[in-house]
Each structure stands twice: as structure tokens, then as C-alpha cells.
């Protein structure tokens, strides 16, 4: 995902939250996430985020995560 794009977190303790991509490096992405009254930065694995979509889970969740990683690679 590119800097500035909206993303939804699908893994780990922040899952379900949304953020904006700040930067990426290696297999990691940094998101700016609104948290209570402030914005914080959260760094996590690429495959713990997907492009932000409406509330229903996207098909990307159904697809094989290993295949997704190969696509990204």
C-alpha cells in the first residue's frame, strides 16, 4: 500500500482499527491511527493490513495469506 492510503488492521491487538499509511520498509508498515483524542503511530507487518473497505470483511481475508505474501514479494 502507498503512503497516504487508508488501511484496516486485520491482525494483532489493534485489529478492526483504521489508519493512514505513513511509511513502509521491508515487510513492515507504519500507520497513523486515531486513538482517543490523539494520533499515534503503529508499526506492524504488511499482511496485518488491507485497504480500508466497508465493514464487511473483504475477500482478501478468505484468500490464502501465503499466496498474498508471494504476490507482494
Amino acid at each position: 500500500m502507498k503512503t497516504g492510503e487508508r488501511a484496516r488492521i486485520i491482525g494483532g491487538p489493534f485489529l478492526g482499527m483504521h489508519g493512514t499509511v505513513v511509511s513502509s520498509f521491508g515487510q513492515r508498515t507504519v500507520l497513523a491511527v486515531a486513538f482517543e483524542t490523539r494520533e499515534i503511530q503503529v508499526e506492524l507487518a504488511h499482511d496485518w493490513i488491507v485497504a480500508a473497505t466497508p465493514r464487511r470483511p473483504s475477500m482478501s481475508y478468505v484468500e490464502d495469506p501465503k499466496q498474498n505474501q508471494r504476490k507482494k514479494g
Binding site: 486485520i10 491482525g11 494483532g12 491487538p13 489493534f14 485489529l15 478492526g16 507504519v30 486513538f35 482517543e36 490523539r38 499515534i40 503511530q41 503503529v42 508499526e43 506492524l44 507487518a45 496485518w48 465493514r55 470483511p57 475477500m59 482478501s60 481475508y61 478468505v62 484468500e63 490464502d64 495469506p65
Partner: protein, 193 residues
């Protein structure tokens, strides 16, 4: 040069720095570890501890004031096991793929299968579930080998009565006209908004 904004770092257990893994000897994938710098430790604590009703979360403070949290969502089935009957083991000739605690949850769940081009969705009922898979009723045949996801309203809510769903995805390992079994390779809880 501008100072870097304090940043919370999240990892799958096996991808976390070894020094952080060592703080939680019971940890393994698919657990998670979070490292929180001192300025964010207090304000963000609730975000980690809110999962405690669903699965174990443990926290520790390091000498520099930062906090490290560990969560084990794989234990969520055990949390509810006492509230539901365990299914009978299958007779000897039937191969049982799942190990660990199995729970006869009996609730309704949504499922989705197919690739991005041809999604198939339906409503079923969970026959039983373990940390590695679930058997559920289906509206139609789900072919073994296909990818599928299932969305299960969880019987425990987060603090503040916020409902959560278990989202699990994997491969269909058994498919019949009105039931299927899914072996999980991804499991996550999502707070309903």
C-alpha cells in the same frame, strides 16, 4: 533533524525480537507481542487489556518505562469451553484432524468461500469448534480444498459490552451437501463497530 514520533510496534510472536519473546516463555504463534514506548504506555494500555475477557493478555514494564504486552488468542476456545458441552469423539475408523479442546457452540455464523471473482456466501450453524478448525452446517456443498472464511458472533463481549466476532479462514477439508469442516490458518477477533 526532527525527532521520530513515539511508535507502538506489533509482531506475531515468532517475528518479535528475541529479547521480547523471552519475557513470555509460554508464547508461540499465533500469539502477538506489542512494544509500547513510555510516552504511550499508559494511554494505550486499554487497547491491549480489553482483550483479556476473550484470551490471556500479559503485560510487563521494562526499566526504561516502556511496556510490553503479549496476547494469546489461541486460548480463546479454552475460555468458553466450560460453558458448552464437548462433542463426542468420532468412532475409531473416522480420522479426527483436530487436536485440543472442541466446543459444541451451536450458534449461527456467516461463511464465505471462493475467490475474489466468484464469492459464495451463506448462513450456517456451528456444530463444533476448536482452535484449529470448525464444523458447521451449510446451505450448499462446499468443495474440499477451496478457501473459505467463517464469521462467528463470539459469546463473550469486550469491556463495555462491545460485541466481537471470530473471523477464521482456511481450507475446506470436508464438504457434504449440508455441512462442512474448515481447517483454520487465520484466526482473528474483530470488534463489531
Amino acid at each position: 533533524m526532527a525527532a521520530q514520533m513515539p511508535r507502538i510496534r506489533l509482531w506475531r510472536f515468532q517475528e518479535a525480537p528475541v529479547r521480547l519473546q523471552a519475557l513470555f516463555p509460554e508464547g508461540k504463534d499465533p500469539d502477538w507481542i506489542a512494544s509500547v514506548p513510555e510516552p504511550l504506555a499508559a494511554v494505550s494500555e486499554i487497547q491491549f487489556l480489553r482483550w483479556r475477557k476473550l484470551y490471556p493478555v500479559s503485560s510487563t514494564r521494562l526499566p526504561d518505562g516502556s511496556a510490553v504486552h503479549w496476547g494469546a488468542p489461541r486460548e480463546s476456545i479454552n475460555r468458553i469451553a466450560g460453558q458448552y458441552p464437548s462433542p463426542a469423539r468420532p468412532p475409531a475408523p473416522v480420522k479426527e484432524r483436530r487436536s485440543g479442546v472442541r466446543v459444541r457452540l451451536g450458534c449461527q455464523a456467516r461463511y464465505q468461500t471462493g475467490s475474489s471473482g466468484k464469492p459464495q456466501t451463506g448462513i450456517g450453524r456451528i456444530i463444533d469448534i476448536s482452535s484449529s478448525g470448525a464444523a458447521f452446517t451449510t446451505d450448499s456443498l462446499l468443495r474440499p480444498g477451496t478457501r473459505a472464511a467463517i464469521y462467528i458472533p463470539w459469546p463473550i463481549s469486550l469491556d463495555g459490552d462491545i460485541p466481537v466476532e471470530l473471523h477464521a479462514a482456511g481450507k475446506v477439508v470436508r464438504g457434504e451437501e449440508t455441512s462442512a469442516a474448515l481447517q483454520f490458518d487465520r484466526v482473528a477477533f474483530v470488534a463489531a463497530s
